[in-house]
């Protein structure tokens, strides 16, 4: 647990970077500091390991005032990941990862064995060990950065814009992996970002910082979206917060209904008979997994005798009871048939739901009743 008590950072000249900050970072959770540039979020992060020294107030890590520990010892016990990875260009990947164990005086063999283990953990092949950072892509460098931070198995990790320097596709996959890793490791993590979407995706808690180093709101992502504390937070989360808030509502009790179905190789005449006056029929495979939508109103339907896979249009993203309503709604909006397709754990078709039905269901729910922190 990390606790900020009335923490202020004032620079010579009077600039206040962090102003009377009170904040608790719970153990085993990801707490995201988010806000515009110059709001003190990075400064606050760097106060924790004393990369920057605070002016007044105190920071407790597991009950101990950080200033009561020598800075170097404190830092070696806290993992640190920075934008661009902060890797040492003159050292191989394996030595980069083993840096903190070396500093702690582990013997070289043990340190390297640990580093190898971590490379594997972050999904890098062992063949990368002997490479230099310049020979890796941005995303790979970032993984090495995470592996390095984990090397001495610190209970706390500080991450300063760790995914900002890579392209959106790589970023999304790094974020997914990061969440998976955190599920295994359960570290106490403080992550700084300027990207509210990233904050909402990654954070168990989100601390929104406003200009002048003030804390505007500390809450769960769902509550930040549902109940912004003030206009500043509302502006930051953006106009489509209602839609994004659906990420935190599951499709658990969403009613679905059957639609006409067919199978590959079935006769098109039968398929048309099944839909009666409608246009779309869902093709399923032998295990009732959805394959695609067939438009039976197509003019060339008369010339085709059987249902072919080439004629099918994509079902898009399917959903289960655990999926978010955002996924369900997006599935319906993106579907040619206007239906989002539900499946069970084995991927077999359970029923479909239209855009209008999703909206109706949402309207009937009291979605703001998310538990406060």
């Amino acid at each position: 647990m990390i606790k900020f008590e009335n923490v202020t950072k004032r620079y010579p000249g009077g600039t206040v970077a962090v102003d009377e900050l009170n904040l608790t970072v719970p153990p085993g959770k990801i707490t995201v500091f988010v806000g515009p540039s110059g709001c003190g979020k990075t400064t606050s992060l760097r106060l924790i390991n004393r990369s920057i020294e605070l002016t007044s107030g105190r920071i407790l890590v597991d009950g101990r005032d950080v200033t009561s520990v020598p800075a170097v010892a404190l830092r070696r016990g806290i993992g640190y990941v920075i934008q661009h990875g902060g890797l040492f260009p003159h050292q191989t990947v394996i030595d980069n990862v083993a840096t903190v164990p070396y500093l702690l005086g582990w013997d070289k063999k043990k340190a390297r064995a640990r580093a190898h283990e971590l490379l594997e953990r972050v999904g890098l092949p062992a063949s990368f060990a002997k490479r230099y950072p310049a020979q890796l892509s941005g995303g790979q460098q970032q993984r090495v950065g995470v592996a390095r931070a984990l090397a001495a198995d610190p209970p706390i990790m500080l991450m300063d814009e760790p995914f900002s320097a890579v392209d959106p596709i790589v970023r999304a996959s790094l974020q997914e992996e990061f969440l998976r890793l955190q599920q295994e490791l359960g570290k106490t993590i403080v992550l700084v970002t300027h990207d509210i979407d990233e904050a909402i995706k990654l954070g168990d808690n989100v601390a929104v910082f406003a200009e002048g180093g003030k804390l505007a709101q500390l809450d769960s992502p769902a509550r930040i979206l549902a109940n912004p504390a003030d206009e500043f937070v509302e502006d930051l989360v953006g106009r489509d917060r209602g839609y994004r808030g659906l990420s935190f509502v599951t499709a658990h009790d969403l009613p679905v209904h059957p639609v006409p179905t067919t199978a590959l190789g079935a006769s098109t005449a039968d398929a048309r008979a099944a839909v009666r006056d409608q246009r779309w029929v869902l093709a399923l495979d032998a295990d009732r997994r959805p394959l695609g939508w067939l438009d039976v109103s197509q003019s060339d339907m008369d010339t085709v005798d059987t249902v072919e896979s080439a004629a099918l249009l994509s079902v898009g993203a399917t959903f289960t009871g655990d999926s978010s309503m955002r996924r369900v709604l997006d599935g319906a909006l993106a579907s040619p048939a206007g239906y989002s397709v539900g499946v069970d754990a084995d991927g077999a078709f359970t029923g479909a739901v239209s855009t209008a039905e999703v909206a109706q269901h949402l309207a009937s729910q009291d979605r703001v009743s998310v538990e406060p922190l």
Binding site: V72, R75, H84, G86, L103, Y132, A134
Partner: protein, 216 residues
């Protein structure tokens, strides 16, 4: 060309060559030892950087012969003491190396410096193990230039009687005898080329990572 003169004076030529190398290399080593802390301070306190560059520029603009002659008066050595040459060339080498050292240290990316601190390097260890190694390509570029420049500058010392291979030039000119001049020239050039190659070799061994980015 009188080959027999070369044969008869082999021992003397060898001594001059060794002395030349000594006069050229020792100041480079001493100059580097001066330039490292000064360059470091100029990076640590950026306000020192411009005056430091200006000072090193002024120092380097003093004509070498003048410096060789003035120096004994200032530091109280004998006019014919080789230490004058060593000190004068050390001043030049130091002045020339401060900039590459400072630029090299400044080339260390901010995120690298920050993460080294945040990971738990002590200040001195961070400088020695992270910042200095990353600055090496700049430092070596400076070393190559300074070493070659020094090898040619040592010859000027011959005008005050201490010049290694330069003494072959003064000897040849005084006697209107071309062989020592040619020998001196060939050996100076060879010495410069070999010294440069040795430095490049050392650099390759010390900075294998610097080529890694390009070979991938």
């Amino acid at each position: 060309m009188r080959w027999d003169w070369i044969q008869n004076n082999l021992e003397n030529i060898g001594e001059l060559l060794a002395f030349h190398l000594y006069l050229a290399v020792v100041p480079v080593v001493l100059g580097l030892a001066l330039a490292l802390p000064i360059g470091f301070l100029a990076v640590r306190w950026p306000r020192l950087y411009p005056p430091m560059l200006a000072t090193s520029g002024v120092l380097f603009s003093i004509p070498s012969l003048a410096l060789f002659i003035i120096l004994p008066g200032i530091i109280g050595t004998q006019i014919l003491d080789p230490i004058n040459i060593v000190i004068a060339l050390t001043i030049y080498a130091g002045a020339l190396l401060v900039r590459p050292v400072a630029d090299g240290l400044r080339s260390v990316p901010d995120h690298v410096r920050q993460s080294a601190t945040a990971i738990g390097y002590e200040r001195w260890r961070q400088v020695l193990k992270v910042e200095l190694p990353i600055a090496l390509p700049f430092v070596f570029a400076g070393l190559r230039f300074v070493t070659v420049a020094n090898i040619s500058m040592v010859s000027v010392g011959a005008l005050i009687g201490i010049g290694g291979l330069g003494e072959l030039f003064t000897d040849g000119f005084q006697r209107n005898f071309v062989t020592p001049i040619v020998v001196g020239m060939v050996l100076s050039v060879a010495l410069a080329l070999i010294a440069d190659s040795v430095i490049v070799l050392i650099q390759r061994v010390l900075t294998p990572w610097a080529r890694a980015g390009r070979s991938s």
